[in-house]
Symmetry: C2
Subunit: 347 residues, 2 copies
DNA sequence: ACTCAAATTTAAAACGTTTGCAATTTCGCA
DNA sequence: TGCGAAATTGCAAACGTTTTAAATTTGAGT
């Protein structure tokens, strides 16, 4: 017995009122007599009336949805980022009665085309964009379209203003350097990726800036670069760094996954962390707590960030502020056991 | 210069055709002259025409969305389940042109009320339901409503038929027992939760069945139970098991998170895994690979399951099959280093 | 050139809501 | 009792699409 969904017309008929009046009563308009409003509310509740989203969207032009185009992911990429992120978005949205649409790019389809579809089909009132690339056509499109959005991440050349929330990776990497420097480290390694993501530059620049700020010419920085998803190449680049004539005493990884590889390879090379080598990551993934001896890293509280992004986006949709909204979140250091004083002697 | 979204009326006018013809041409109806169809397709592509979702939904009664009510999660629960699951759903949906709606329950709001809202507002053509409870009002509601859905998980008493996909936890736990028994273990521990989730019973029953099947009266099973999110209680129950006069030589945990706690507490108690104690989990979370010595567990390939759930649901929405669709997925053992032969002597 | 069927196109209704404007009711006050 | 303003309610259009039923055009056969 599939209970039929009740419509406004039916509800109105049952109350012997016009559709208009019922609609207004439910919307709480003052012009409707209080008594009527109560009567309608009561009947609606009792009948389990829920307004039809499509009809409402059609006439109001607002869908009550926020869109997120799922980042394309490798076949066996397992991390908690997405879960954290959508949970946070959901939490931020629900308090304003909004919901989330997740659109996936099909094989061979660009994220941009999915984004266009979401925007132009009127499915969403705004979108959030993650993993900003150096040259990001999605942002260009959204700007040109004048469509409400918030980016999780920043462009490098901010020659155009837009709404973003970002983790202050530059600050974190500066903090990591300072901490390691104070522990006596002078020879540093940076493990990074070759993809043109802006967060990579921001973090690396933060590290470089901290080094420059210190003004110590004896500080040395080696860099190992490999494609994000090419584990073999990563290990190779890493081992070159680890087995060179002189190896760094402290390695900073662009993010935890890389740092975990560093710790594995260090162990394989017979190095003890942190006695022979300090390692610091970024993201605070779950495995970082379990990988011995416990990875020192930075926590960016994705879920909280996502919640704020939702708030920002809803503000933008509702108020269309003239000035762009921006938030820079400082990640917190999670000190565990993978960093320590620089070894006194070196082989 | 926010480019206006083009409408069917405008497109029709620019082609000097009626709305009807353009609509049919785009839908590929044979009755429209081939030449016209091509002309329309060309113009639509060039003008970047995208049909309005709300209007289409309103008239067709199909939204092209599948709904998922986000499970309510603790404040700092970090896992990859949700990310895997929505990624898989997205992948399964996109090939049929469907998208995913994520609805979140607000503080103090039940999952059921959110589900009702999603269903009755016509936002979605079908929904997927996860984490089935022993008595699950969501399933009862959906059935009574006759609304298309697929459950990830099973009810215990299948007195009513419905569509589900489940991981064969019973089989896995039986497999774990057999393997450990063959390694000489006779005294087992089971670490479980107190929440009324059906997967708990299925797995426990699978273990019990395997024990019974073996018919060896010397086999002994201790059970430690604690609330899912109460880490303190969990540790307490665990230590009672670990520090009793006789402790198990092998512990099977309901899922990895519990197994990881077991390994931590074992280490704290001075036990070496797997020499003194074998541990087996379920889920294959990322941390399981990193937690020394590497947790032996079962992989349920959430992402793949979610993809199949999406396929099932779309079939149900399109064809309304008379018989319910069901799939039981056998998880694969991921042997790592946390299990081994039973110790010969016992303290 | 004429007929009739086939091919192609179109007008108009419908989906369920919101909202501008107009109609109706109520009520205080003369 | 009658008047007018204020309070309350309702009519009808609009949102952008799909679809039914009907109208128009085309073309083959005579």
């Amino acid at each position: 017995m599939p209970a039929r969904v009740i419509t406004l017309k039916e509800l109105a008929a049952s109350l012997d009122l016009s559709i208009t009046t019922v609609s207004r009563a439910l919307a709480g308009h003052q012009q409707i007599a209080l008594k009527t409003r109560e009567r309608v509310a009561q009947a609606a509740r009792q009948a389990g009336y829920v307004p039809n989203t499509a009809a409402r969207t059609l006439v109001s032009g607002r869908s009550g949805f926020v869109g997120l185009v799922l980042p394309i992911r490798g076949p066996n990429l397992v991390d908690s980022f997405l879960g954290e992120f959508v949970t946070g978005l959901g939490e931020g949205l629900v308090s304003h009665g909004a919901d989330l649409i997740l659109a996936t790019a099909a094989e061979g389809q660009s994220e941009l085309s999915v984004l266009r579809h979401v925007v132009e089909s009127g499915r969403a009132d705004g979108v959030v964009v993650t993993r900003i690339a150096e040259v990001d056509e999605r942002l260009a499109y959204l700007r040109q379209r004048g469509f409400p959005f918030v980016a999780h991440g920043r462009l490098l050349d901010s020659d155009f203003a837009y709404n973003w929330l970002d983790t202050d990776g530059a600050h974190a990497f500066g903090e990591a350097f300072d901490m390691l420097y104070d522990l006596g480290h002078r020879h540093f390694g940076l493990v990074t990726i070759s993809e043109p993501m802006t967060f990579r530059h921001l973090r690396q620049d933060g590290l470089a800036a901290a080094i420059a700020r210190r003004g110590d010419p004896s500080v040395r920085l080696d860099v190992a670069t490999a494609p994000r998803f090419d584990r073999g190449a990563r290990i190779q680049a890493l081992n070159k760094m680890l087995h060179g004539p002189e190896r760094p005493t402290a390695i900073v990884a662009l993010f935890d996954e890389l740092a975990l590889t560093v710790m594995e390879e260090a162990a394989r090379a017979g190095l003890t962390v942190p006695r022979d080598l300090s390692v610091i990551g970024f993201d605070n993934v779950v495995a970082s707590a379990y990988a011995p001896p416990g990875l020192t890293t930075f926590d960016a509280s994705i879920r909280q960030c996502a919640r704020e992004i939702a708030d920002m986006l809803l503000t933008i949709i509702a108020d269309r502020p003239a000035e762009p909204l921006t938030r820079l979140i400082r990640p917190t250091l999670v000190p565990r056991a993978s960093h320590g004083p620089a070894p006194l002697t070196r082989s």
